[in-house]
């Protein structure tokens, strides 16, 4: 993550931050963070969509909270403090869904609690929200959340189409073309293929040069 748009003199614009989250530093395809849930959940588009929206909400709320209260967080204990902030928002969303949207909760309740441990959220708090003003932090959180949502939908569509021969639950082929892609190993292959595609596009845009920012460590 050396040649990213971080730590400039002036905070980047909203559009630049949104595009950075969706393409330039896409959490799944470029940063290779939170791959485990990205594989586990994305057997269908609908599952990916629901988890993606939940992550988007938690990312924006946690980033904004950290930007607001970072003066009260002692630097030596900032990681536990971030974890508590994320956990508070995840629990609040969990209870709200259980109370007001029981139908949705029945499907995503299991996944929502897992968001506490998503590497992408805490890494944006550490890398961006802890040192940038409120407004750019909001756009960064929104961009990263949208990037994760986008990645889950693309992976989900790819795997649902190839694995189950359907899109959004509607069958488009008579039988299951490649069941392999609905299985967990197929999820990793899907991410690998899409990651290669992202790199190829980047390379083409950069005029044949290798892309600068590639994936970091694959954290949970």
């Amino acid at each position: 993550m050396s040649q990213t748009i971080l730590l400039p003199e002036r905070p980047p614009s909203a559009i630049a931050l949104l595009l950075n989250g969706i393409f330039g530093e896409n959490p799944v395809f470029r940063l290779a963070l939170s791959l485990c849930p990205a594989v586990a959940v994305t057997t269908t588009v609908a599952n990916g969509l629901m988890l993606g929206v939940a992550v988007l909400l938690v990312q924006v709320l946690s980033s904004v909270t950290v930007a607001l209260v970072r003066r009260g967080i002692h630097p030596r204990v900032r990681i536990p403090a971030y974890t508590i902030i994320i956990a508070v928002w995840v629990s609040a969303i969990d209870m709200t869904l259980a109370g007001y949207f029981p139908v949705i909760y029945a499907q995503v309740g299991l996944y929502v609690k897992l968001i506490v441990a998503f590497a992408i959220i805490i890494s944006r708090l550490e890398v961006f929200a802890s040192r940038m003003p409120l407004i750019p932090t909001f756009w960064d959180g929104l961009g990263m959340g949208l990037g994760f949502l986008f990645a889950l939908i693309v992976i989900g569509a790819f795997r649902e189409l190839l694995g189950s021969g359907a899109i959004l639950g509607h069958a488009v082929t008579a039988e299951k073309p490649l069941l392999f892609f609905a299985l967990p190993a197929g999820g990793f292959f899907t991410i690998g293929i899409l990651m290669a595609l992202f790199n190829a596009i980047e390379r083409w845009k950069c005029g044949g040069k290798a892309p600068a920012a590639t994936g970091g460590g694959a954290h949970g």
């Binding site: 993550m1 050396s2 971080l6 209260v69 009260g72 967080i73 002692h74 630097p75 030596r76 204990v77 900032r78 536990p80 403090a81 508590i84 902030i85 956990a87 508070v88 629990s91 609040a92 209870m95 709200t96 259980a98 109370g99 007001y100 029981p102 890494s123 550490e126 890398v127 802890s130 040192r131 970091g216």
Partner: protein
């Protein structure tokens, strides 16, 4: 992360290998910082809980009510009365409360609840109205609930809540009985059995084995490790998808053939299978005894309205 650490109170240029220097009083600032964050988080979560809990409870009750209606195949026009059973704090009396209680669900349910208290030998100790707020009072041990369905004044069946000690934790289930005290269905509503093994007791095909058994079948109901006959397995697997009446026409003879047979255990999960079977039997036998005590008084109460 490759990102450089922020702040940290270290002196610029200090060697990384050295133990970090701690400014005086820093420990206390850290403790204060974490305490404030945790307290604020707890306050927020407490507020959200207070704001959402009654809706979550209401939706749980709706789900339960739907399960009851589904188990008894109640159409429109049927009413379901909920009766809660408790053991007194001194464990010397069984308390029944009918009506009232779930004030969150609807306004008419918030009316006064009727309470009947029986000694363990079956004599009525007292009866009378209790305030709805008194429901689920402290010290009372819940013994599960009874949902009594009536259609046009005639009893249309019961659903009794029961609990069994499963392989890992308790298994909570509903047993539905039709007007002839025959099992109309069993549904596991909460369990923590192992996926692929004990959790199979919550599937339609396993629970379907209980339906259709009469009282005398229930008394002697046992569990066997014998393999399930293929025709019966096929019939049970079709039970969830098919229309109830059609299924009964097609497989009714098979069901009556199997009613006297033991329950076929889930392969590799005999403990869970036996736990649910024993729990279903105990729940039905308890309920039969209690209902014989309670019913005459309930009729008086209903007649008075």
């Amino acid at each position: 992360m490759s990102a450089p650490a922020t702040g940290g109170g270290g002196v610029p240029g200090a060697a990384v290998s050295k133990a970090p220097t701690w400014a005086p009083g820093e420990t206390w600032r850290i403790v204060l910082s974490m305490t404030l964050i945790c307290a604020a988080g707890a306050a927020i979560l407490g507020g959200v809980y207070l704001g959402t809990e009654r809706y979550a409870e209401a939706s749980r009750q709706r789900n339960e009510r739907a399960a009851v209606e589904d188990l008894l195949s109640l159409g429109p026009g049927a009413t379901v009365a909920e009766i809660r059973q408790y053991l007194s704090p001194a464990r010397d009396a069984v308390i029944y409360r009918a009506g009232g209680g779930d004030a969150a669900a609807s306004a008419e349910a918030a009316a006064a609840a009727r309470e009947f208290v029986f000694a363990l030998d079956g004599t009525l100790l007292r009866s009378g109205d209790v305030a709805p707020a008194a429901a689920d009072a402290k010290g009372l041990l819940p013994l599960g609930r009874i949902f009594a369905a009536t259609r046009a004044g005639a009893p249309a069946g019961f659903v009794v809540e029961g609990e069994a000690r499963g392989y890992k934790n308790r298994i909570r289930f509903f047993v539905a009985l039709d007007g002839d005290w025959r099992i109309a269905g069993v549904r596991v509503v909460e369990h923590e059995e192992d996926p692929g093994l004990g959790a199979e007791v919550a599937t339609d095909w396993f629970q379907g084995q209980y339906a259709g058994r009469g009282m005398e079948d229930v008394v002697s109901m046992d569990v066997t490790k014998d393999p399930m006959p293929e025709d019966w397995r096929g019939a049970l697997r079709r039970r969830g998808a098919a229309d109830g009446r059609e299924w009964a026409e097609q497989f009714g003879s098979l069901q009556s053939r199997e009613a006297g047979h033991p329950i076929y255990a889930v392969t590799g999960a005999t403990i869970s299978s036996r736990a649910l079977t024993d729990g279903v039997r105990a729940t039905i036998l308890h309920f039969r005894r209690r209902w014989a005590l309670l019913e005459p008084y309930l009729h008086d109460a209903a007649g008075g309205e």
